[in-house]
């Protein structure tokens, strides 16, 4: 049986890892990327997501990316500011398993078709930043600063039709607050498309993962809970196993 995945997210601002609330500019420092990735790897998380929010990565910094990917023995998804097939190509070459794209899909939606054809759907994750405006879920880009003219339910279907293999749903309203995911949004997403849904934004305890699971999430991404609390991916797994959720237990010979 396929397991649900526990995925720590790392946000890199070009100098340090950071984490804020609701995508606002003020962010807390969350440590060094290298030390953090090594810890996650040694704790045998199911996957790692690394987002570069510096917007200084038009040219991919080979040595930096290699320093991260070389110490990871689980899959790693890299995203943030990716706009071209050539950037993706570099990232795959430097050890990324999947690429996450976001802002570019509003300027050039065809990049989903091109990249999924070139690298396979399984390697292309679309990350969608969502905010609830009165009744509808609206989509944002450019680190949540710009509102797109697309409604969430249309956009997610379009992304999958164009070849996205997986969708990360970032709920801006819940981001960093550690009060739980937007389960209504997760349920909506998983009812609309037939690719894996990664819930992101709002996890503060293990029960939040379980709630997202019940609403159709295939993976739980989280940052603050690991950076700023005593919660760990391993404890999250134990909790979920006890709830009967299919989880990969760590391998012991």
């Amino acid at each position: 049986m396929l397991k649900v995945r526990i995925i720590p997210i790392m946000l890199w601002n070009g100098t340090t890892l950071v984490k804020g609330n609701k995508f606002e500019n003020e962010k807390r420092s969350a440590g060094s990327p290298l030390a953090t990735v090594k810890i996650y790897n040694s704790r045998d998380v199911d996957e790692i997501i690394f987002f570069d929010i510096s917007r200084n990565n038009k040219i991919i910094d080979k040595d930096f990316i290699l320093s991260i990917t070389d110490c990871v023995s689980v899959p790693i998804t890299i995203g943030g500011g990716i706009e071209t097939i050539s950037q993706m190509n570099d990232l795959f070459e430097y050890g990324a398993d999947k690429i996450a794209i976001n802002s570019i899909i509003f300027k050039n939606p065809n990049i989903i078709n091109e990249s999924s054809k070139r690298f396979g759907s399984q390697a292309i994750t679309v990350s969608i930043d969502v905010k609830k405006d009165t009744q509808k879920y609206e989509c944002y880009y450019n680190l949540g600063r710009n509102k797109s003219d697309k409604e969430f339910k249309d956009l997610i279907i379009e992304c999958v039709d164009r070849g996205a293999g997986e969708i990360v749903i970032n709920c801006i309203d819940h981001d960093g607050l550690m009060k739980g995911y937007d389960n209504e949004l997760i349920q909506l997403a998983s009812s609309l498309v037939n690719v894996p849904i990664i819930a992101s934004g709002g996890a503060g305890n293990y029960e939040h993962f379980y709630e997202a699971y019940k609403n159709g999430a295939d993976a739980f991404a989280a940052a603050s809970i690991y950076h700023f609390t005593k919660h760990t991916p391993a404890e999250a797994k134990k909790y979920l196993v006890n709830k009967g959720v299919p989880i990969r237990e760590n391998f012991i010979i």
Binding site: L2, K3, S73, P75, E166, R248, F251
Partner: protein
């Protein structure tokens, strides 16, 4: 004979993580892009991601087909196909149209929904294997160990003797196969943490 390990580089796939995983078990693999040099090695990895057609087209274009076939029939050597690298060991594949594979382990590779899988595709993530036949490649791997998969297509073996382990995802599909000195895993051992490293170790020691 000393063990000389190669990773075939035919322009498809993330070979760096495989290289790094081998380093963890103190194997310094060589990444080989020239088919004429592969005869020097006795443990050879055929990696791969993306589509069957792209992979087999590249294999043929660069001139890998004959050296890989030669290698697979040399009893003193062994070959390990990973993911699409395993799939192209088959007779045919149906991704982006029908193409001829390497025809080393008889069977064909078909989309999983066409075989009856009604779950989300691609099949991405950690899934367990059910070991059906004892084999060197699964030594020290307990039944139900989890590995990392990324696939929408799966192998249909002509001969069930080749089947070592299966995985369930809407259908029961071959996740570890073996014919004499040729091994294949649908999952990525190089992305499967400690269990994956154990598989790599088994192949090197086989």
């Amino acid at each position: 004979m000393t063990t000389k390990v190669a990773i075939i580089n035919y322009g498809i796939g993330n070979i760096r993580s495989l290289y790094n995983s081998l380093k963890k078990i103190e194997i310094e693999a060589e990444i080989v892009a020239n088919p004429e040099l592969i005869y020097k090695f006795n443990k050879v990895f055929l990696p791969g991601v993306g589509s069957y057609k792209d992979a087999i087209d590249m294999i043929k274009k660069i001139g890998w087909e004959k050296p890989i076939k030669n290698l697979s029939s040399d009893k003193n050597k062994s070959l390990f196909g990973i993911c699409v690298g395993m799939q192209i060991l088959s007779t045919f594949g149906y991704e982006h149209g029908k193409s001829d594979g390497l025809d080393i382990i008889e069977g064909d590779v078909e989309r999983m929904d066409k075989q009856g899988c009604d779950l989300k595709l691609p099949h991405i993530g950690w899934n367990n294997i059910k070991i059906l036949n004892d084999n060197l490649i699964t030594e020290n791997i307990s039944n139900d160990s989890n590995f990392y998969f990324v696939n929408s297509y799966s192998y249909k073996l002509m001969n069930s003797d080749r089947l070592i382990a299966t995985t369930n995802y809407g259908i029961e599909f071959p996740s570890v196969i073996n014919k004499q000195n040729v091994f294949g895993t649908q999952f990525h051992p190089e992305k499967s943490s400690k269990a994956g490293i154990q598989i790599l170790k088994n192949f090197i020691n086989a």
